[in-house]
């Protein structure tokens, strides 16, 4: 676990291993997984519930490490990622690979032995999906990369649910659908005002390949089924009016912002205020929606 720094060989700093796990992404993963776990019917021992969330967090960290191991060349070309440990030369690639594989193995085996093997299986599949299907296969070859890759980020609430119940029913599938359909508007709004960065790195994001108009159409198009999926738990009688009302209001705001993105003709990043607003709100939207969902379900159960 060493790296060349100028002309001497330095062991990588522990903070760089921490950075490899993408802590900010991990926080959203932990949060949605916790919501899935809290919303599930039944009981889980608090220690095992904590272990399940820990394993999901470590699994997400493994995915982040393996992603950065493979993408070191792309990361070096983008301003947003150039200071990560690998492109900045603070760590060698083999250390990142060993770290990622080690975390993945630990999280899956611990989840299986402590909680149940269904949740461990879904966790293993989500790591594989993010590291191999998204990072290695899709990201460099198709502008639909984040649509299919978004599935990897949609698994945590399903894993949290499965940790409690040992099965997967309609409600966790709806939670999966919400995050899956939320991912394209979220990432494409970012890609619109970061287009130059992605183009420089040669990543075929939709604005780079198909243009801004097509991307804006797609953002609005994906927002509609996302709103439907978000309101569906209430419409199907699985939550109370509390979540239903909040979901309708949150989705109205989301759709209004997506509409203003759709109508925005700007080509320069400086004139893309609607896109920046949608990107910022989309994060708040997901946090609020899942928090309200979990709170509502806990009151119902």
């Amino acid at each position: 676990m060493t790296t060349a720094m100028r002309d001497i060989i330095l062991p990588a700093d522990w903070r760089d291993f921490w950075a490899l796990t993408k802590p900010r992404v991990m926080s959203l993963v932990v949060f949605t997984a916790l919501c899935g776990l809290l919303a599930a019917p039944g009981h889980i021992h608090p220690v095992l519930g904590f272990t399940a969330i820990l394993c999901i967090a470590v699994g997400a960290g493994a995915s982040g490490a393996l992603n950065q191991w493979y993408e070191h060349d792309i990361d070096a070309k983008m301003v947003r990622t150039a200071k990560r440990p690998l492109p900045d030369g603070r760590m060698d690639r083999q250390s990142a690979l060993h770290f990622g594989v080690g975390l993945a193995g630990f999280s899956v085996v611990t989840m299986g032995m402590a909680v149940n093997w269904l949740s461990a299986g879904i966790l293993a599949f989500s790591i594989f999906f993010y590291a191999v299907v998204y990072t290695i296969w899709l990201k460099r070859f198709t502008p639909q990369n984040i649509v299919i890759g978004g599935a990897a980020g949609a698994f945590p609430p399903v894993i949290g649910w499965a940790a409690v119940t040992g099965d997967v029913t309609l409600l966790p599938i709806l939670l999966f659908a919400i995050i899956f359909l939320w991912t394209p508007p979220h990432f494409w709004s970012l890609a619109l005002f970061m287009k130059a960065d992605y183009a420089a790195a040669g990543v075929p994001m939709l604005p780079v390949v198909s243009g801004q108009k097509v991307t804006r159409n797609q953002i609005f198009a994906y927002s509609l089924p996302m709103a439907a999926a978000a309101i569906a738990p209430y419409a199907l009688g699985m939550t109370s009016w509390l979540y239903g009302t909040a979901a309708i209001l949150l989705n109205l705001v989301f759709l209004a912002l997506a509409f203003s993105v759709w109508r925005n003709p700007a080509t320069e990043a400086s004139a893309m205020k609607p896109e920046k607003r949608l990107f910022a709100f989309s994060i708040l939207y997901l946090f609020l929606l899942f928090a309200l969902f979990a709170g509502d379900r806990m009151l119902m159960l």
Binding site: A4, D7, I8, I9, L10, P11, A12, D13, W14, H45, V47, L48, T51, L54, A114
Partner: protein, 49 residues
Amino acid sequence: MTSEERPYTPEETKLIRQRQAARSRIMAALLVAMCILFFAITVAKIGFW
């Protein structure tokens, strides 16, 4: 060793030792945390709590 096989300077050696010590402390803390976690999981699975 350096790329030219020259010995480390005292400053470089100090920096390497600091990094190694910091990583050892983190690793020790993680191992202790893992022991506690596995003990707690075992007790919870047995149904003692």
